[in-house]
Structures are given as C-alpha cells and as structure tokens.
Symmetry: D2
Subunit: 368 residues, 4 copies
C-alpha cells in the first residue's frame, strides 16, 4: 500500500487537498447490513467543523458529506463506501504569497524535498482538512461498534498547562464549553489561556484523551499488530500529533513494578477483572476487558500571526506573518478525529480477531 | 498480513517462543549485494544478551545466529534472509507452576482469552525473547543505512526518576556502565536506584531515546505512513513500551507556536536547515534533514519477586511470588531493540521514497 | 486490505455501483511531476464506452472523468489521485423485476449468500461498469510507462471460434472494425459470427491478447509477486475472465523442453537476447527483456435475451428473458481494461524493482 | 510486502535456496487449537519428494520437516508456525560449471539482471525446492479445511498430448501410477510418452487439475480479491506454471451464453444449486456452493540433457548439456503443490469472509 490506505480487513483510503475540489475517503470491508444515512456521518463531521467557537477559524465550511457508493436501500452492502465532501470555501489567493515561502512548523519544505513541488494552497494535502475523510469513515466504524456495545469517547485532557481534574470529571460538560473539556472549571482556565495566546498572536498545544469501553478481552494481535501499536500508528498519523501513550504511558517509566502491575481478581459475577488499570486496557498487545485509555499530544498550531523568521525557496531570509484563518489551538477540533481513528483501528482488529480460534471458526460455519 | 509481518518493501516476519526450539526472523526485500556475515548480526544480538551486568538475568544464553538463506558468497542475494537463533537455556520446570496462574502485568490472561490456551513456558510468544528476531534483522538494516551514511543511535535516557543531563552527554560512556547511559554521573545514580529496587524485590521503568543522523529530507509518506507514524507502530509493538514521542513530544503540548516552530535558515554551504529541532526531524510526516529524535517509555519489568495478589485460571485468589531469572529493569537491554526497529522502519520508507518523483525514476532507468 | 485495493507501491482502490451516483478510483503512489489532464484519461475511457458499434449496448453514457485530487498546476503531486465518473444513464426500473431473481451466469446468488442482500440495479458492484475505475487509473499508469519507452498494447485475439491470423497482423486495423481485431479479414468473420449470435438472442466469448514492449529485464519479484503471478491476479479479477496464460501458456503443456526453451544469443549490439519467445517475456517470474505476451479468456456475456430457466430468491422455478441493454460480446470493450490492468501491474513492479540492488540504491541517494 | 509473503489473514512467508542450509516457511494467522504433529505435514512433503518413480530425479532427499514454533502441547497456539526442512543432498559441484552460463528456460539471466549476481547452485531461490515451504504450510491449511468438511484434491489431467478420460476417472488410481493420473489407461499412455521423452534426452509439460468440494457459497471478495483472482496469483506463482483457468476456462471463450450459463434450480432439500458447472464454482469472484474446479498449465522441465545452444555471462556462444539430476516432467510432483496453494488461498478467503455480514458479527460476539 502506498501510504494512503490503512487497515487489514476494514480499510480506509483518504484523498484530497485543502483547496482542491473535494476531500474524500473510501471505506472498504465495512460489513453488510448496517443502516446508514448521511446524517449518521454528518453528526461527526459537524463536531470537527470550524466556526463553532471563538477559538476556531471563522471560515464557514459546509463540510457536507455525500455517500457515493456502498449503501443501498438505506443499508451498507459490504462493498466499498465512497464518501465525498466538496470543498466550498477555498480562498486560494490568501495563500498565493506563501507559494515561495517555507513556513516554520509546516510541511512546505519537506513536500518540496520529496516531490519537487507542492500544492501550496491551504496546505494542500498536509492541511488539517485531510482529517475530514478519517472522521467520515470513523463515524461508520463507531456506529458498528455501538451495535456491539462498544463506545469510543475522546475529550480534551489539557490545553497548554491546564489539565482537567478527574475529581470534577463530567462528560456532559464537554459540549458546554469551547474546548471540549469534561470539567467546567478547567475549561474556564483553558479558555483564559487561549485568549492570552490569541492576544500574543500565538498558539498553543494540548492533549486529547480517549476511552474505549465495552471492548471484549482478546482483541489485538501479539506481535506487530498489537492493539496499542496499531493505535499508535493511527493516532500518530494525525498531522500535529507528537506523542502517544497508553495507560500510565510515560508515567509508567517512573513507576515501580509493584505499583504498575494491575492485580487480577474475581468479580462478584465470577468473571476475572483487574483492580487497577495502569496498563490502560491492554496486556501483551491484546485487550484485557478493562477500559482502553490512551492519550495523544498535539503541538501548537504552527500558523501564527506573530512575525517569524524563515527562508523562501531560494534560501533568502524573509519575515513571515501567517495571515488567513487559523485556529489558535488544534485540540478541540481534533477530539473527534482521535475518536474516529480509534474506532477504525479497534473495529479492524476486532474483525481480525474472529479468526483466532479454530473452535469458534468451526462454530461460525456450522451455524450458517 | 496476519500481524507478525511488518514493512512495505523491506519486511520482517518474526516467529518463535521463549522456550521453543528456536527464535527467528525472515527479512524480505533486503537489497542484493551487501556483504554480510553472521558476526555482523551477532554484535547486535550480544548487546541484548542477558548476563552482562548485575541488572540483567543471570541466565546464560548463547543467542548465536545462523544465516539460513539469502546470502551467497558472502553477499546478500536479494532473496529472503532467514535467521535462526536456537534456544539453548530453557528451564521450563521453573515456569510449570505458572501454567494455571495469571501473572499481573503479563499477557497470560489475554492470551487465554484470545486463543483458549497458551504456551506458558517462559512467557511463550509474549516473552522479551521475541525481540531477538527484530534485533537480528535490524542489524542488517543498520548496516545498509551506514552504507548510506545514516546512523541510528539509541541509549538510555532515564531509569525511574533519574534522567541524563545533556550537558554531560557523552556517547562513549554508554558502554562503560551497566545501564547504557551516555552520562557517567546519571548512570551512577541510576545504578543506585536499581540496587534499591532489587533490595525491595521490585523493578522499575525507564525511557530510551534514539537519534537518527544523516537521513536525507523527503523520507516518509504524507498520510498514514508518516515517518513518525510508522516509527510509533514499530516502537509501540515492542512488548513493554507504553509511550512514544518524537521531538518535543508531550512537552510540545505545553508549548506555544512561537516557541515550538523551528525557523528555517540558509546554511553557509547554501542548503536550507532549521535553527532548532523541536519537531524532532519530521514535518508533515516527512524527514526534514535534521536529526530525527524520538523516545520510548518502558514500563517496569512485570516479573517481581515481591509477593503479589492475583487469581488463577479458575478465578481463585492466590499470592504469587515470581521466581525464575528476571531483569529488574528492561531498558538497558531494550536500547538495541529500539535502535533496530528504528533502522528497519527508516530503511523501509527510504526505499519507498525512491519512487516519489517521476524525474528521478526516469533518470534511474535511463542510466541502468 | 479488504479486497478493493491492489498494488504495493502504486495502488488502486475502486468503488461504485452500476446505478449508484458515480464510479471512481483512488490511485495512490503515483510519482510526482507527470503532466496530467482529464483528456489523457478520457481517451482511455472512451475506448470502453458503450454505444460505439452495433455490438455494444446502445446505452449512451458520457463516462466523463473528473480529477478531484492529486494534480496541481497540471502535474501530479505524488498524493492520491481521486477520479470520479458520474453515472448518468441509470434506468433502474429496467432492472426492478430482476430483484428477486437469480440470473444464470451472474453474481446475484453469490452476493446474496455473502452479504444477505444486494444492490440489484444494473448488477450493482458486480457490473462491468466497475472496470471504469480500473481504466481511469490505468490510463495514468500507461502514460508514465510511455515516458519510460514502455508500451502496453491489447487487442482482440479471437471471438468465439474466429482467431486472428498473425500473417495478416496489422495493429492499425484495430480501430477500423467493431471488434478491435488487428486483422481485417478475421474481423469480418468475427462480425458475422456476432451477427448470428444476436439473431439467436445469444452471446459469445473471446480472447484478448496483450503485448508489453520496452520493458527492461529484471522486473518482477522471485516468489509470490512474480510478474506473471501479479498479472494473473490483476487480469483474473476482471469480471468475466475465466483464464490467463503467458507466452505459450496451455500450449506449453503439450510441448517439449527442446522446443519450449528459448535459446539465448548475443545481439549485434552486444546485448543478450532470446531467439524465440515461448516464455512470453518472463523467466522465473522476472522480465527477460523480450516482449511480454499474455492472453485472457472471456466468457460469453451472461445477459442474453433468449429465455432461460432459473429460480428466484424463494427457490421457485422461473423463466427469465434478460431485457435491458447488453453487449452480445464483452471482448472488444474489455481490450482497454486488460491493457490498463497490465499497465498498473507492470508499473507497480517496476517501481518495486528500483530497490533490488544496493549499488543502485547507493547511486540513487548519492546523486540526489 | 516484499514479495515472499502471501495472504491477508492467513499468510505464508517462504525462504530458502535449493542448496542452502535449509528451506522453510512461516505460517502466520493459523487459528489456535488445531492438533498438529510433524507427521501431518510430512505426509504432504513425501508426496512431492523426488526419487519415487523412474520419472523423478534419483536424488534422495529426506525433506524432513521440523516444527520450530507455534505448536504447544500438540496444538497450534495461534502464533506463527515456523517450519524448517534442512537440505541434506546438496552436490554443489555438479552445478559449478553452470555458474557462468545462462541456461535456456531458467532464471539465471533474469536473476543476474535483477540482482547483479546469483546463487547458481541448484538454481538457488528459483529452484523447484522453493515449493517445499508452500507444501509444508499448505498441509496445515488442508487439515483445517478438512475440519470444516472442505476437501482439496489435485491430480494430473494431462501429460504432453495425453489427457485423462473422465469416463474412466478413478481417484484411487492416482497413487497406483507414476504420473498421479486418476485414470489407469491414460497413465499408461502418459508413461510411454515420458519414456520416449527421456530417450530423446528431452522433457515435456502437462496440466494439473484441482477440485475443491464442500466450500460454502459466499467465499471470495468482489473486486481484486476474487476467489479466482487470488487462486490465479497463488497458482501462477508456482515456478513452471504458464497458464491458469477456472471452470471451462479458455473453452468458455469459444462458447455461447446459452451454453455457458449454468441454470439455477431448487434441490430436493430446498437449497439452491446449479444444473451445470461451466463457471467452475465461482460467480462474480465468489464461491457459489458448487465444486470449485481449476487447471494449471506447466511448461516442460527446462533442464534437459540434449545439447542446447546458449551464451555465457560474457555473451560467448556455448553449447550446453544440462547434467545433474532432473525430472523429465514437473507435473506429477507439482500436483501436491497446486493442492497446497489452493488450500492456503481458500482458507485465507474463508477467514476473511467471516466479517462480511453485520448480523453474523453481532452473533459471533454475543455468543462468546
């Protein structure tokens, strides 16, 4: 695969540039029989749409999805689902002056090195708009997971130095604030931090956390396709992500075995569970029946209005002040992207896991 | 691929259990014409061998590699290179009592859930010995990279709370201490921390850092096969890794755009470079010509001698005291594993990148 | 990959149903820098369009391609090229009566078995219109190959019992007749055969032959990705293909080693060549510098107007007379499909072959 | 994947050269819980062993398989199964004189073109011994299929001009003659033809036919991973295969729709079946519940004792008389190779098909 396709049984292939005609995705391997309407997908796309708060670009983009294939009489047919989202708000002249310049923190220079030239309008393929395809496909994966009583929930864990307090954790707060934080107090502090950033013509980073509940034990492959390894790739392939951790993550590197090990016990209904969850729901790369918990670190938005020194294609020193419409923080809109990449990854490995035991395979085909 | 194969053009397929007959790997897609002897590989395997310091298991394992295919007259032929390392030091009776028990922090429970039963001797497939195949193949990738003036160097960055001080950074120190730290003073502190752990019958975690130098700009694919995404998967697929970050990583989430952006400038020889390297050598998923820098967080060794509460297969409460021969810290021996997974990942994407520009392809075939 | 994606470095992902909104393809891994316009692709699509002779369905379909991504300022950017061809001539009511019925020779029954239901309009995903995406992507591959002086040429070799005579072989004749035969006399006989078929409300099969010239020696991988094996898969994945052969093919099974072996000799310019080409241009799965020659056997169009006995979903006996607009022969329009699948396969393996020798890799990166 | 790995969920990676230390294969994705002993595999390997009749090389090779991983307490564990077959009968000096020479019909020249040099002993990687790994892995696939009441049976259909007569078809005859033909009379004629070939120091080709019974309808993916397409690739990747056809194959190209279409009918037990099977068990790339039938055309053994003209590496004309120990016909020993590649391909797609319907997935996870 040439790098724009991801997944073993359930795969996505994304395409499209920020200011091209459209952005899209092909979801292949989606099981047949799922009721699916454009609204199911649109709800997810709306969560990443700009223009929803003072911290996102004021661009107005419809980002309206069209289902082009793979659905018939309201249900998925098992064949590839092609989803297209036309680009409607391109203002390419805003960017024309950037054609010759290498913006710090952006992929302008590396694309030129790799390809010899680039689509410089709106960041081209390296734009955050590339994630639209991921969200559109992920919405379908999330709907299937919900049919299996599996939920994927992401939220903003921190913005700059402001982290949520788990004593105040309240998911219902998430949609009440502009930063998608499940903690009203921290959200207020984060918004103040962001206002200060904007005043400085600056931007800041943050962390998204994601929890997957209801996942049965036994999902994930033991070697390279560990559940956490595939999640790491899926999440780190999101443009601005600079780090990934599962369970206690980097904190585990400062812990002791006696603390970090999660003791098993028998629950009142006779099943086996863990008393703690430092592991984040995965042991040996395979889900253990606990909540799966991971985090993604996002760098600050590289486009800032404050003047920056850099060079142009010819190597001349220039001072750049990125105009255009940019979010001072990527995180709130990235929450749904993380959720969708997680849903796609988990569903793919869940389908793969169906073939791990001969007795279950025999039972499957016997009862057809 | 069923999960034990990794890579697009250069791929590895690993196999083997801790106490089986042997451990091995097939490296496919290795270019023809590389001079290769078993010693080239053995040097790397020796770096992960146990028994080299007081902090590693006193087991003595030869871990001697045999090249079974793909090399003729001392050079690689371009066909699959099969490498086998016989297991010589199995003491399966040490583990027999663990057959029925679910050790905290281990994959015993999840393997049983997934497969219905498991090879319980020495951890079976989930043992750290699985990394032997990765190191054997990675040694070959590293040799090829060195032919292209690319070096991959990993070292211990921290053990528990003890981190290296970059003011004292000295790579030559790495082999002078038992913890593979490039800083003699920190190494001393880390060793003291480890001695304390062992006294408590406990274990601790740590962080490995890896630097890749000489990588040309333009390596990595723009979407899912971003250089950092493929590295994240390769590294997170190593057994005890709980986190991955590139460049400033999680620290970037607490930074500002004005700080985190790396300014481009023209060097004295006319090329373009970056003044800082917060990005860690990758922009938009593609190498930017700077050093590539990433870190991996390792959890504490789950096998500890201190008694732990857990359950057995039937769900009965038991108290477990893991006997056998275990390292109180995984990190020093994992350094070479990280290095090798990085080498394999980078070389694979480097080969893929050869086909990114039509002019270079035309030139390639014209000059055959 | 879930089955709608093909290729290692250059991959295609096709989507779309016969009577859905559109048909499309994503071509990933296309090298950057190729001048590309919609006309380049349209020329190929026009060759498979219906309504061009009395032997193709009188449906009028524009089959006009739109480039949605991956091209900027008239050149490919190296990122995924999304191509969409809107469906404009759906007359779904023609097919409504077929919803409950299992047409002989069609995939109605197998899709129902696999997916539980199906898009019955116009054959849905199993329609010949699925090949539009293949042709659109293949046109781009063919254009790149032509830049490397490699040409891919397919033509009708036989229709029913009428085969071309190589003594009269004249490629320029191909576009002069309704059956794409490079032999005017045979074309006349074939057309008479087809007229008789139509009179009987019947259909017939045929063979497409394809020749690839200019391919350097050394393309193809030695084991499963043999040049002929990948071609076999690509060609046999075309809906109505029932057989594939390379070089002398099935005839070789009746030959002797002394006849079938192609002797090597030194040409006047000092290079090595073969005196004959029974092998069809491939030895050990790798191109040998001779013309690559293969053939594909197409079954008769399964949709015929003559009444046929079959059953409906409930298992009731019915008599079916397929109405609608169908070609009495698939072959003439399939010629360009074969050509395009061959171009995609050969180009993919050609790109892969760039990494087979270390000396060439070193040279590639040294001269960047 | 770099070309030595095949399969989506169940994959094989083969390695090894004819005169290297060993030949082997890694089977990944094999479901857990299958009872497996080395004898299960050895039975299949013995069927391809040389020295069993006067038409196979008199070399004596033990070809004894060793299971190195993936089996514990007599059952498969779900982790990679590594199988190794040591090479014991290398007589490399027989071949030394061939090092400089390009044998007609062999891959000597193409390997040199691709890799710059080659392992010339015994054909190296291009030797027929490469199929040992395929057979070893295929034996396991066949055992799993038999647990699902699916049988894969291959036999010699023709040798040179001598084809079996289906009126005399008797599978039990297959092991009674030296050519694996299920027809005693034809076997006699074929043996006479082979004796004549040998007298002429010549060789001949033939056709293997394979029947798969018990396969449920619904196996195979609709686009590129059609059951017949994946079979075509698997079969055409066997060294000497020059053609593949399914059902009526090339004969279908000379047929009419009214003949070639297989009518559906309701069987006495109420299921739906086909009255004929021109399709060979596959419609739209998906199994239809009928027997799956395909054929593979093998070229004559290229190594013949009769003198042949060719060139050496320097381009000098030479006359070659291939000494050493070679079969005058490949087909009888290839029968089991075809069977094994078919078993691997079918089982892989059967596992993939488990995820095609949401209702079945829901049922699978509900009943865990």
């Amino acid at each position: 695969m040439a790098g724009s396709t991801l997944g073993t049984l359930l795969s996505i292939t994304t395409w499209g540039e920020s200011h091209g005609k459209a952005i899209g995705v092909v979801l292949d391997g989606c099981p047949a029989g799922l009721p699916l309407k454009e609204e199911d997908i649109q709800i997810y796309l709306n969560r990443r749409k700009p223009g929803q708060s003072r911290f996102t670009t004021p661009r107005k983009e419809a980002d309206a999805v069209q289902i082009l294939s793979g659905v018939f009489d309201g249900r998925t047919t098992g064949t590839p689902i092609s989803l297209m989202i036309p680009n409607t708000s391109q203002r390419s002249k805003d960017y024309r002056e950037l054609a010759e310049c290498y913006r710090p923190g952006h992929a302008d220079y590396t694309y030129d090195c790799k390809y010899g030239f680039r689509d410089y309008t709106g960041g081209g393929r390296s734009s955050g708009r590339e994630t639209i395809g991921r969200v559109a496909a992920g919405a379908i994966a999330a709907k299937i997971l919900s049919r299996l009583q599996i939920t994927v929930t992401a939220y903003t864990r921190s913005i700059g130095p402001v982290s949520i307090d788990y004593d105040r954790f309240d998911l219902s707060q998430m949609e009440q604030n502009a930063v998608n934080m499940p903690d009203a107090v921290s959200a207020g502090l984060a918004e103040a931090h962001l206002d200060a950033c904007r005043e400085q013509q600056d931007s800041c980073g943050g962390v998204v956390e994601c929890v997957i509940q209801g996942l049965p034990a036994g999902i994930g492959e033991p070697c390279f396709d560990k559940l956490n390894a595939n999640l790491a790739k899926a999440i780190c392939s999101i443009g601005a992500v600079k780090g990934f951790e599962i369970g206690d993550g980097f904190e585990a590197s400062r812990s002791f075995g006696s603390q970090n090990n999660d003791a098993f016990y028998r629950t009142t209904d006779g099943t086996i569970a863990k008393k703690t969850n430092h592991a984040g729901g995965v042991l040996g790369g395979i889900s253990d029946g606990s909540d799966l918990i991971f985090r993604a670190a996002f760098k600050p938005t590289p486009s800032i209005s404050a003047p920056q020194k850099t060079v142009n294609k010819s190597g001349d020193d220039i001072t750049l002040s990125v105009k255009g419409r940019h979010d001072p923080i990527i995180v709130p809109r990235a929450v749904v992207v993380v959720e969708c990449m997680a849903a796609l990854t988990v569903l793919d490995l869940l389908l793969v896991s169906m073939s791990s035991r001969l007795d279950r395979i025999e039972n499957f085909f016997t009862t057809l």
